[in-house]
């Protein structure tokens, strides 16, 4: 008995020693044990744990955990630290009560899912067998972690986010299927070392673990807030992949998203033109049942409409000077189109072109900045293409003329246009291939006492003619009627060229049975100087004099004239001209009739009769031809007219004085030679 007792004691002692040794060994090689356990739990991986320790009674702590794919050797997960709570009865059923990750920094491979897949070589397990069955986790908790995904895919995509999770019944294989939610925030994505092209404020991913592993299906992804920058990175990501030689496909089954909900994600267009960079719009959409790989294309196909109001494009030299004001801009596009720099519809309502030197400086500046060349871009290279608009509509456009200073002259002209497939790199330089059309209209310029009616309308063209590479704006308009003060012309046209130096115009039309025309040059200067010239051919003098001085004199016959003027703003500084009356006519100074009727009755008969004869001789004069010239400076100058007729020569010099000062030699001289 005693011997048996001794044997039992020795046996127990040995068992205790063995157990103690085992516990000692296990404690010494806990990390190895942890690696073994993890590999059992996740058959698709090899695990390495730098250190592990047990906190009694049932907590396993570990540091620097690395999981690698058993098949490819690729690192699937690195974990700085964490702990697992268990109980021994649970372990018997391959269950871990809780895994808690404390402020982990997880570098995650996109092939992480392989960790939970059985090796393909492994034989199928018998139903109900526990051996080889993956472990289940009662709760997986992380309050705050950092997730990094680096070098994802061929595009070297990098993701970084903070995350939190509280997965209950985290069981890969067994029921019940619980819905889990992974919350990420401060998510950013970049391509390699490039700046972030995507930042998201908050992402919620809802999934069932079994569906995730077996069907590669995510129940719902919600994206809230953030910015998507449509620029070079995105274009490269969505560029067509280079064709490779056909070979065995190792494509994995497509990941599916049941619902993708996007709210208030701002999309910004990355472009060197600041006025385009400023264009942002919010993306709000919900997509259903789409493959994850096609999310972008599905999202890209969604129609988007953006309205921008009161966008001012300012001068490169003067931030207070506008070159273009866009009252309303309506963009209609798809995200996929934006990535390809294509806009489906662009409507500009109420744009104002501020014509002045700054406009042309702006055009030059943009061209230099972007290095726009006339050479066609390579259509096969989407990243090298310029922006295009499939359909462009401009309505209620206005033109404002700047004078070099801050003074502006609005022209009550409206323009509109419709165009298709417009190259937008030219729009930035205000070079539309299509002309802006000026609709038929009745225009009134009150301050200039000018009005005209156009029944055919006209056009406004930038950089015209295009073959000369001019930087200008050319406006042509056909006028049915034109009136300046009391003068009226018909069948007229006006062609105006706006350039950096100024505004040059030509006009012409029918005037009182003859033809008249002229031109003007408006220089961009603070004082608004301009010059003009005018000619008339075979103008009916009778109708002209009836308008000029209906109560004083009348002349008949056709007149030809030329006239030059030099002005500042609305003030004529100098006028100089010549007239010619090539055919016979008659001069009647009707004003003298009043003198004839009012001859003083106290005069002698002889004096009255001789005066009457003299005045009547002067009043009526028939001429064969006539010439004249005139010049005026401000409100002084000389008008000289010589009429040659059968009854002799009539020579009139009218000297206009602004004062009665005797100063000025010109007053003593006749008109110009």
């Amino acid at each position: 008995m005693r011997r048996w007792l001794r044997v039992v004691l020795i046996f127990l002692g040995v068992i205790v020693v063995v157990l103690g040794a085992a516990i000692f060994l296990a404690a010494r090689h806990l990390s190895t044990l942890a690696e073994w356990a993890l590999e059992r739990a996740m058959p698709g991986v090899t695990a390495s744990v730098q250190s592990a320790s047990v906190t009694l009674p049932s907590q396993l702590n570990f540091q620097n955990l690395v999981l690698k794919s058993r098949t490819s050797g690729e690192t699937l997960l690195t974990l700085n630290g964490g702990s697992a709570n268990f109980d021994f009865s649970g372990l018997r059923h391959r269950q871990i009560r809780e895994i808690r990750l404390v402020e982990p920094v997880i570098s995650l491979s996109p092939r992480f899912g392989e960790a939970f897949l059985p090796p393909s070589s492994r034989a199928p397990e018998a139903p109900g067998a526990t051996v080889g069955r993956p472990w289940s986790v009662g709760q997986l908790v992380c309050d705050y972690g950092i997730l990094r995904v680096l070098q994802f895919g061929a595009n070297d995509l990098a993701l970084q986010a903070k995350f939190a999770c509280d997965f209950q019944n985290f069981s890969p294989t067994g029921a019940p299927e619980a819905e889990h939610e992974l919350v990420l925030w401060d998510l950013s994505a970049s391509k390699g070392a490039s700046p972030n092209f995507l930042t998201l404020d908050l992402v919620r991913a809802t999934f069932k673990f079994a569906s995730l592993l077996e069907k590669q299906t995510i129940s719902k992804i919600s994206l809230e807030g953030g910015t998507l920058i449509v620029g070079q990175s995105l274009r490269e990501l969505f560029a067509p992949a280079p064709t490779t030689s056909p070979g065995p496909s190792k494509a994995s089954p497509p990941w599916m998203v049941q619902t993708l909900d996007i709210a208030q994600v701002n999309v910004r267009i990355d472009d060197e033109r600041p006025e385009i960079t400023d264009i942002t719009f919010a993306l709000n959409t919900t997509l259903q049942k789409i493959p994850l790989s096609q999310t972008a294309s599905a999202l890209g196909a969604e129609d988007q409409i953006v309205e921008i109001t009161n966008l001012d494009i300012l001068s490169p030299h003067d931030p207070l000077t506008k070159v273009l004001t866009l009252e309303h801009i309506y963009f209609h596009f798809t995200l996929a189109g934006i990535i390809k720099r294509q806009i489906a519809d662009l409507t500009l309502k109420g744009p104002t072109i501020h014509v002045g030197p700054d406009l042309f400086w702006y055009m030059e500046n943009i061209q230099k900045r972007l290095g726009i060349s006339s050479a066609p871009t390579d259509a096969s290279d989407p990243t090298g293409r310029g922006w295009t608009i499939e359909r462009l509509f401009v309505a209620e456009g206005k033109v404002v003329i700047g004078s070099g200073g801050r003074r502006k002259y609005g022209i009550p002209l409206e323009f509109y246009t419709k165009a298709q497939d417009v190259a937008l790199d030219n729009l930035a330089a205000l070079k539309l291939e299509a002309a802006l059309e000026i609709p038929p209209e009745h225009y009134v310029f009150d301050s200039y006492q000018l009005e005209f009616t156009s029944e055919k309308g006209g056009t406004l063209k930038f950089s015209y003619p295009p073959e000369k590479g001019e930087k200008n704006l050319v406006g042509d308009i056909t006028l049915t009627k034109i009136r300046w003060r009391q003068y009226q012309a018909s069948d007229a046209f006006v062609s105006v060229t706006f350039s950096k130096e100024g505004i040059n115009g030509l006009f012409g039309g029918s005037l009182y049975r003859g033809k008249a025309g002229g031109g003007f040059s408006f220089f961009f200067d603070a004082a608004s100087p301009w010059i003009g010239w005018l000619y008339g051919n075979a103008i009916d003098l009778r109708r002209l004099t009836d308008i000029v001085s209906p109560q004083n004199f009348r002349m008949t016959g056709p007149i030809t004239f030329t006239l030059q003027m030099d002005a500042q703003g609305k003030t004529f500084e100098r006028i100089l001209g010549k007239i010619k009356i090539p055919q016979p006519g008659k001069l009647t100074i009707t004003k003298l009739d009043a003198f004839l009727d009012d001859l003083p009755p106290r005069w002698t008969m002889l004096k009255r009769d001789s005066t009457r004869i003299a005045l009547e001789t002067l009043r009526d004069f028939e001429y064969d031809s006539g010439t004249g010239n005139f010049w005026f400076v401000r409100s002084q100058g000389i008008f000289r007219l010589q009429l040659q007729g059968p009854q002799g020569l009539r020579s009139f010099d009218v000297v206009l004085h602004s004062d009665d000062s005797p100063q000025g030699q010109w007053k003593k001289r006749s008109a110009n030679p």
């Binding site: 040059s521 030059q564 100089l576 400076v633 409100s635 100058g637 000297v655 602004s658 000025g664």
Partner: protein, 175 residues
């Protein structure tokens, strides 16, 4: 007595004879119509056209303190000189007397010279003020002023223009 009677009868007989004859025709008309050449000069004075001009008009151009008024008062004379091709717009924004002025009378030449000197002094003062205001150099202001004058000149007026070689030459502006 008889002699006296005979003389009386002879007189009355002659008178009776003459009274029976037609009176002679005297033609006062000319073969061409009468031509009357009339030259008339009408001086029109306009008062109260412009306040500043009126203010300066009472004083000679050279004695008015405001250079703008002085220039306004001088403007017609300057135009008269330009019309007669006596002066031109130079490359430095100033007026330059042309060769044609040498053909004028000494009095007229003097008048042109003095007017041009005074006009240039006023222009230079204005250009210095512009340079000060715009904070740019005087030559730059002169250059852009000259360009503006060139642009604003009338056909056939003298202007000094740059050549392709970077030199300057005088031309009469083309239309």
């Amino acid at each position: 007595m008889e002699k006296t009677l005979r003389q009386s009868l002879t007189f009355f007989a002659t008178l009776a004879l003459l009274s029976g004859c037609a009176a002679p025709t005297v033609n006062l008309a000319t073969s061409d119509p009468i031509k009357v050449d009339i030259a008339m000069r009408l001086d029109v004075y306009q008062y109260g056209q412009k306040t500043d001009q009126a203010a300066g008009a009472a004083a000679p151009a050279s004695t008015t303190t405001d250079p703008k008024i002085r220039r306004d008062n001088r403007m017609a004379d300057i135009q008269d000189f330009k019309n007669n091709r006596l002066i031109g717009e130079g490359k430095d924004g100033l007026l330059v007397i042309q060769e044609a002025a040498t053909e004028e009378t000494p009095d007229r030449r003097d008048y042109v010279r003095i007017a041009v000197v005074e006009e240039n002094a006023d222009r230079m003062a204005q250009m210095k003020a512009d340079a000060e205001k715009d904070k740019v150099s005087l030559p730059e202001v002169q250059s852009r002023t000259a360009e503006l004058w060139r642009n604003r000149s009338f056909k056939n007026e003298w202007i000094e223009v740059p050549t392709a070689k970077g030199e300057w030459k005088w031309i009469q502006k083309e239309g």
